[in-house]
Amino acid sequence: MIPGKILRFLEQHANVAFAGTRNRDLVPHGHKVCGWRVGADQRTMTAFVAEEFTPGLVESLRENRELAVTVEEFPSHETYQFKGRYLSDRPVRHDDVEIVDRIRRRFVRSLRSMYAEVPESILGAFVSNPSLAVEFEVLEVYLQTPGPGAGTRLIPPVES
């Protein structure tokens, strides 16, 4: 279950995400994620994948169901990785696009000072239009914020 602190991070602070899959030959592939939603039971997530990163995605997921999604708040670099098992996919809906629009605005606000000379429309274009929603069961959560604790498994907790 995704804890409340990480849920708040996902819903209020995070602004960048990327998914990783692999094919039957264990070749890794990446897929830009422009938005996300946590299921009501906090055990599933839905990632909204940018259109240009969908080729091959569904085929790999249906073949092996393996998925990892890293979500970061830029520029603070607070980062978590969610690993899990593919459940389903569908085209994005209007309410998914609204989530992506919120994340896009959050992203532009966060980067405005670092890219003062770049027009907002160009910064905003970084958060691509989504075309596919991928739901997955979250089995593990890892801390990935740079530092000595990076790589620590948070969910399920590591037995000491």
Binding site: R22, P28, A68, T70, Q81, K83, R104, A125, N129, P146
Partner: protein, 147 residues
């Protein structure tokens, strides 16, 4: 089959310290994604990635040498997608020294001084490279109606 070469236009993108993400896969088939602070241009057919504290990534590429990297060129409005194969790890020499210096500069610019520390420069052969322009969207949405 000819070797894949990095196009000249990618070099300034990499030298700007542009953030990137990397996907690897363990021998038992578990993908792993991570944000990386640096993709270093070695030559036309090789790139180096910094080994700092990404232990799962480092373990994965030693079990399964294939890697995927996506570099975000925000000013150029494009993603650069690289498929790579791990070749060797260097802990000294000109590639290591240059990456170490670049990492310190990136750390200082991003408020991560003292946290980023280069342990090794992992050198990869470039198997393929592709430029994917950002998809188009309506800029007016950015200032949308009070959501």
């Amino acid at each position: 089959m000819g070797m894949t070469r990095l196009p000249p236009e990618i070099r300034p993108v990499l030298e700007n310290g542009t953030p990137a993400v990397m996907v690897t896969c363990s021998a038992d088939g578990k993908p792993n994604t991570t944000v990386i602070s640096q993709v270093y241009y070695v030559d036309e057919t090789h790139a180096a990635l910094s080994f700092q504290f990404f232990s799962k990534t480092i373990r994965n590429v030693r079990e399964n040498p294939r890697a995927y990297v996506c570099v975000f060129d925000i000013r150029g409005q494009a993603h650069w997608v690289l498929h790579l194969k791990f070749e060797r790890s260097e802990t000294e020499g000109p590639i290591f020294d240059a990456m170490d210096m670049q990492i310190e500069a990136i750390a200082s610019m991003t408020g991560m001084s003292g946290i980023f520390k280069l342990r090794a420069a992992d050198v990869y052969r470039v198997l393929s490279v592709e430029k994917l322009p950002f998809s188009r969207w309506a800029a007016a949405d950015l200032h949308g109606s009070g959501r």
